[in-house]
């Protein structure tokens, strides 16, 4: 019964192990490492959503739209309502982004290929334009985010980063496992079918457009949670978060990581963050070049992303 298609899958065990390890070793990590890791979790969440779309053959050049919406929702909670609880921020950020994706999805789910990509990019640039013009939200300077609290408790200065990291990792764990399960439902499995042959999907009685819409909403929600998280970690938000280069970063990470597994986006984001930080340290003026070379090497040697290096020896 289970031969062939269902290979032994350790995703759930690995995800839990990584989380426990992180929570246990966290207190001994240096502050900068925790910062890099938390930012990686935030970006990983966005890329996790991108993975869903990429599997269906859709490249969104506009996930920054939802990332930025999530961040500004978190910021607005603090600025206008004095709320700084990290879970509330992530929840609201994700909800606002998912709701926006739901509305925009009626338009975007009709498009494929380059049209989908450019339309999503255009939408994110509209948000960028709006934020740049809005004085109340700090225009191009953006504004600062309140220090994070956790269920009404404000952790001491030495523990804030750790508390945020573990909260972020917990959310990422839940998100990754939820997506992992989704990918194994019939609707989730429809992704490669939509990529391959939409006509056949329709003639078997399923709506490709609806499946794309659902994926777009999930991806938007995840990007919103990631954005809210990034806002609280960095402590500052500005319209750059909606700029197209931010979307480009997410696609960069998705290609780097590969779409083979739900853990891959987080590994990819961490490696991206590490390369980025090191390249910037070594030569602040040419870090883009270092990143570019890294991506080129990867495309040449591991065209299915970093994850394919793991899966090749483990699961085949």
């Amino acid at each position: 019964m289970k031969q062939g298609r269902i290979r032994r899958d350790h995703t759930v065990a690995i995800a839990f192990a990584v989380f426990v390890l992180l929570a246990a070793l966290g207190p001994w990590l240096p502050q900068w490492a925790m910062f890099i890791m938390t930012v990686a979790v935030a970006r990983g969440l966005v890329v996790l959503g991108l993975l869903l779309l990429l599997r269906a053959g859709l490249v969104s050049f506009g996930q920054a739209l939802f990332y930025c919406l999530g961040a500004y929702s978190a910021g607005a909670l603090g600025r206008f309502f004095g709320i700084s609880d990290i879970f509330v921020e992530m929840l609201v950020g994700g909800a606002v982004a998912a709701a926006t994706a739901f509305v925009l999805g009626f338009l975007l789910a009709r498009y494929r290929g380059i049209f989908f990509g450019l339309l999503s990019l255009a939408l994110s640039m509209i948000l960028y334009g709006l934020l740049v013009k809005s004085e109340a939200l700090g225009s191009t300077d953006g504004f600062n985010i309140l220090p994070s609290t956790l269920f009404g408790v404000r952790p001491g200065p030495d523990w804030v980063r750790y508390a945020v990291l573990v909260s972020a990792a917990a959310v990422a764990l839940v998100a990754a496992l939820a997506v992992h399960r989704y990918l194994n439902t019939p609707l989730g499995r429809l992704a490669p079918a939509i990529k391959d042959n939409e006509i056949r999907v329709e003639y078997m009685g399923a709506s490709a457009r609806r499946a794309v819409h659902v994926k777009y909403v999930i991806a938007g929600g995840l990007a919103g949670v990631g954005g809210a998280l990034a806002a609280t970690v960095v402590g500052h938000i500005d319209p750059e978060m909606a700029y197209w280069t931010t979307s480009g970063e997410f696609i960069f990470i998705a290609i780097l990581a590969g779409t083979g597994n739900v853990i891959a986006p987080f590994v990819g984001a961490l490696i991206y963050g590490a390369i980025h930080t090191m390249a910037y340290d070594l030569s602040p003026n040419t870090w883009q070049m270092t990143l570019g070379v890294a991506l080129l090497l990867l495309i040449v040697f591991l065209p299915s992303g970093l994850w394919s290096a793991f899966s090749r020896f483990r699961w085949r």
């Binding site: 298609r5 439902t185 990529k195 391959d196 056949r200 003639y203 078997m204």
Partner: protein, 257 residues
């Protein structure tokens, strides 16, 4: 016998080209109907209109008394009218087995058995078995088990045709429309494919409409023939009578009249 599909006065024009002109046909339940005609005569247009890919300019189609003229393909499929394609429409990057599982997944979903929290081993409606067993069974019936883990893109021509038909059979259609099931297949394989398909269909109990160019295949397997010419049906009769029809002899079979 009861009429399962009733097409009335279907008309469809693409610019100056008339693809269907007053096409009417009442198809009886559980019958096997061959559609013949030269290329461009309107056979595929007829199938495309019935399955909702094209909307007719005029006319209507009723399926078991229900008007389906304006429904989109997926709704018509859900009602039990499935089709295969002249050029097989497969999920090329996936294995043969995964092709089947995707189809079965859609059947489960449409039956409300494949939600996020549904059991993975839910029984497929109409089969009473879990998805993987159903996939094995259908592949076995079409002689495709040997290709189970092969990529659909690299199958031999005959197997591609059969997989395309197998995908159309997954939802247990009441009406199966086969667009040139034996085109691009060797002469020896033709009869084998038709035999296999009709046996599978008989096991399920479905009405079959198939487009075919080989008159030998038509007279062997069809109970009734619709001959198309220039967007019209020029003959509607049992195979012997239809193939003897003067217009059919002249326009479809050849110039032996």
């Amino acid at each position: 016998m009861a009429i399962i599909l009733d097409a009335r006065s279907l008309c469809k024009a693409f610019g100056a080209v008339t693809a269907a002109s007053e096409v009417s046909a009442a198809i009886e339940k559980d019958s096997i109907v061959g559609l013949i005609g030269t290329n461009g005569a309107g056979k595929t247009t007829f199938i495309n209109i019935v399955t909702g890919y094209l909307k007719p300019d005029r006319g209507s189609i009723a399926y078991e008394g229900r008007d389906i003229t304006r429904l989109p393909p997926r709704d018509i499929t859900r009602l039990g009218i499935c089709r295969s394609f002249q050029i097989p429409q497969l999920y090329g990057s996936l294995s043969v087995f995964d092709n089947m599982l995707i189809g079965i997944g859609i059947v489960l979903r449409n039956a409300g058995l494949a939600g996020y929290f549904s059991r993975r081993d839910a029984l497929v409606p109409g089969y009473g078995e879990p998805a993987e067993a159903v996939a094995e069974r259908i592949l076995g019936r079409f002689g495709l088990l040997e290709y189970r883990d092969r990529n659909a893109q690299v199958l031999p021509g005959g197997a591609r045709k059969l997989l395309d038909i197998a995908l159309a059979m997954v939802a247990r259609p009441r009406i199966l429309l086969l667009d040139e099931p034996t085109s691009g297949v060797s002469a020896q394989e033709k009869f084998g494919i038709m035999q296999m398909v009709l046996e599978a269909v008989r096991a399920e109990g479905a009405t079959v409409l198939f487009v075919e160019h080989d008159m030998e295949v038509v007279s062997r397997f069809a109970q009734r023939v619709l001959a198309f010419y220039d967007g019209r049906i020029i003959a509607d009769a049992p195979p012997q009578a239809a193939l003897a029809h003067p217009e059919v002899r002249r326009y479809v079979v050849g110039t032996r009249a």
